[in-house]
């Protein structure tokens, strides 16, 4: 699988944070970790940096399979505030809160942005 080019030179268009996605969203992970996101995000919302905590979150997300180029799909949502979400990451299912999912930037497949 070809690695996704995510040069920090210019903002990637059309990407959304996984935590903002709705059930049915399908796409490819283009960036993981709030530090990577702060270079990429266009709306400034993801611009934050919290050193130690974010580095730890990034490694945990990577270890459980959220890595650039991984296929993701939001399968289920919780009842209250549609949180947490259950995500299919390639061949495995992972439950996580939207807050943590916001550290993952996804390029949605056309027509698979999920329920509005």
């Amino acid at each position: 699988m070809a690695p996704i080019e995510n040069t920090a030179a210019g903002p990637i268009t059309g990407v959304i944070r996984l935590g903002d996605g709705a059930r049915g969203l399908r796409g490819l992970v283009v960036a993981v970790g709030f530090s990577a996101l702060s270079n990429l995000a266009t709306d400034g919302k993801a611009k934050r940096n919290d050193g130690e905590f974010d580095a730890e979150l990034e490694r945990r997300l990577l270890e459980i399979g959220f890595v650039e180029g991984a296929h993701v799909e939001i399968l289920h949502e919780g009842l209250f505030g549609r949180d947490p979400i259950a995500v299919k990451v390639d061949t495995m299912r992972v439950a996580l809160r939207r807050h943590e999912a916001n550290a993952i930037l996804v390029q949605p497949e056309p027509g698979r942005v999920g329920r509005p």
């Binding site: 270890e63 009842l79 943590e100």
Partner: protein, 624 residues
């Protein structure tokens, strides 16, 4: 003597893999019931070791290491896995061989770990477990290709089938015969970019050697559509819990009666044989009655753990954590706190033991601290006694039984206060970021009866060991307090008046007067520290009511002697008070420090006093 077969040197192998890869099922298949469960020194991580003999007669010691996604060691479990593999574990030999266990339907994450494990310097092989499910779903794996590329033997296993471990056993022999030579580990903690690189390497391996069918017969997805439905899923969870509790409380009734009858019989027999005196009193009142009053919960604990392990093996517990995360998360707890809190409705001891699944120390401690607020079954005899003595058995609002309503309110008070206390911890003690909730939702699997029963037996043994050590010593201490010093010559009241418990009770009485407790209650609370329901028997002793302590005689005496305000105050006391020395002992054990049991005792005592004060004074003001 015929020494024809030379004894082969024994081999130590360790099973390592991701959580949910079927590692423990494989371990059970290899070792059967020849397992030893203990703790690693200094930490509350379970150490599982078992023995088996390989096909050519080689004795093998297998260790089931805690599941992990990396060797980084975030939680105590993961630190044990890392240290065992790197030979850093005190008193534990480095294994001769690693068996990396992978879920064949989800190879990618384990391949990443295998790449990291190659730096450990121990000969290893890769077992593709759950191969039956992979075949059913049409997933094909080029085993030889993968083996050649990784440079280690790769075999397939089906832990749940009788001959599903043959290839593994043969491979272990083959590797041992060829000679196993470990080298110095050259592992270092991977940084984020190294993890990324390893993932991409693992992805390329999966692309080359694994093929997924276009039409995957994946049952998990279909089952999840029902069980994780936002509203329906919660209703199903509630229904499951309802059934579990029905089972815990109704199935356990009969065996509990047998156990308590058995202990009564034992106490009577012993007191008939032994001459009356201190020894007889120690054995019957202290040891037998005391331990019996805790062991009587064994049936409930066994039934509860049967369902918990069954649901865990099926894959449902991770779903329960998912469904409950938002609800318990509101109080700063973790989705995984849910199961320990649930267990605490039977008894806080298994509940506190079950907090080991929570990786984050703070959230684990918060869960431990609030677990005793859940209404355990030892409170039921106390609640029942007071409710039947003071609350009229009549209908209110047309259809609700008043006694039942009071009972329900006591349960609700426990739950609400547990959430409130957790929130206070979150807001004032452990401020800052909440621990991320990131958890794998494993594929559903048919639970294996043998595995479930093995797990239940291991839990029961752990509980019995606790009863034999911590609980027994607490019982003896409380017996001592209730027995010494002996009453003076010509004393008229019950002996407990003159004991340390009596002295402490009398001394405490002025302190307890504002919450409406008389000296009899104060004295009964001391032996009641052994276990909550012991207070019922102690009240009978103090009021010198012989015979059947749980019968109506005590109930009538109490309703004649106490005001309603006192009764309500005592109910409020029992919602909060740390009236269980065994729980405090287990907290000490699980946290490896006196700090937490002391903190628990103090905060629960303060809450109990405030609650009883408010209840008593309001009841008096309202004319109670």
């Amino acid at each position: 003597m015929n020494v024809s077969v030379p004894t082969l040197p024994s081999l130590r192998l360790a099973l390592v893999g991701n959580p949910n890869c079927g590692k423990t099922a494989l371990f059970n298949a290899l070792t059967g019931s020849r397992q030893k469960v203990a703790n690693y020194p200094g930490v509350t991580v379970e150490r599982k070791e078992g023995n088996f003999v390989s096909p050519i007669g080689r004795p093998v010691v297998a260790i089931d290491l805690p599941g992990t996604y990396s060797l980084r060691g975030r939680s105590p479990d993961e630190v044990v896995t890392r240290d065992a593999i790197l030979g850093r574990l005190e008193g534990d030999q480095r294994p001769d061989m690693l068996v990396c266990v992978a879920d064949a339907t989800n190879l990618r994450i384990m391949l990443r770990l295998v790449l990291e494990l190659r730096n450990a310097g121990i000969p290893m092989l890769l077992a593709l477990n759950m191969m039956d499910i992979a075949r059913y779903r049409g997933i094909t794996i080029d085993v030889d290709g993968l083996s050649a590329e990784l440079g280690i033997p790769v075999i397939t296993t089906v832990a749940v089938s009788p001959d599903g471990t043959q290839a593994l056993l043969q491979q272990i022999d083959a590797m041992a015969n060829a000679g196993l030579a470990s080298t110095e580990p050259h592992w270092h903690a991977l940084d984020a970019s190294e993890v990324r690189d390893a993932h991409h390497l693992a992805d390329r391996l999966v692309d080359r050697f694994v093929s997924h069918p276009a039409n995957d017969r994946d049952w998990t997805r279909r089952i999840d559509r029902i069980l994780l439905n936002p509203a329906g899923g919660l209703l199903i969870l509630l229904a499951v819990l309802f059934l579990v509790f029905q089972a815990v409380f109704s199935w356990a009734t009969l065996p509990m009666e047998w156990i308590s009858a058995g202990f009564d019989w034992l106490a009577q027999t012993v007191s008939a044989i032994l001459p009356a005196g201190l020894l007889s009193s120690l054995i019957t009142d202290g040891v037998i009655t005391g331990v019996g009053s805790v062991l009587v919960f064994l049936p409930q604990i066994i039934i509860l753990f049967f369902f918990i392990i069954l649901l865990e093996d099926f894959g449902y517990m991770a779903r329960a954590a998912f469904l409950m995360d938002r609800i318990v998360g509101g109080a700063g707890l973790h989705g995984r706190s849910f199961i320990p809190l649930l267990s605490s409705f039977a008894c806080a001891i298994p509940g506190i033991m079950a907090t080991r699944v929570i990786e984050n120390r703070r959230q684990r401690l918060a869960t431990i601290m609030v677990a005793p607020l859940m209404t355990c079954s030892a409170r039921i005899p106390v609640y029942t006694l007071i409710i039947s003595a003071f609350i009229p058995n009549r209908q209110v609002w047309g259809m609700v039984n008043l006694q039942g309503l009071v009972m329900f309110s006591l349960y609700a008070a426990g739950i609400v206060s547990a959430f409130a206390v957790a929130l206070v911890f979150r807001t004032f003690v452990w401020r800052g970021k909440s621990e991320p909730f990131i958890m794998e939702l494993p594929g559903y699997k048919r639970p294996l009866v043998r595995s479930v029963l093995l797990g239940v037996v291991q839990r029961a043994i752990i509980f019995l060991k606790r009863a034999g050590t911590i609980i027994l010593s607490m019982m003896i201490l409380i017996w001592f307090l209730s027995t010494f010093p002996a009453p003076p010559e010509g004393a008229t009241g019950p002996a407990i008046h003159y004991s340390f418990a009596g002295i402490i009770g009398h001394a405490l009485q002025p302190l307890l007067a504002p919450i409406g407790f008389n000296w009899q209650i104060a004295v009964a609370l001391i032996p009641g520290l052994a276990a909550r329901e012991v207070a019922v028997g102690a009240l009978a002793t103090v009021y010198a009511i012989g015979g059947d302590a749980s019968g109506s005689a005590l109930s009538q005496t109490l309703s004649a002697q106490w005001s309603l305000a006192t009764a309500l105050s005592l109910l409020a006391w029992y919602v909060f008070a740390p009236q269980c020395a065994s729980t405090l002992g287990v907290v000490r054990r699980e946290t490896n420090s006196w700090r937490w049991p002391v903190a628990m005792f103090v905060y629960m005592m303060v809450l109990a006093y405030i609650a009883s004060f408010v209840v008593y004074q309001s009841a008096i003001a309202l004319g109670g």
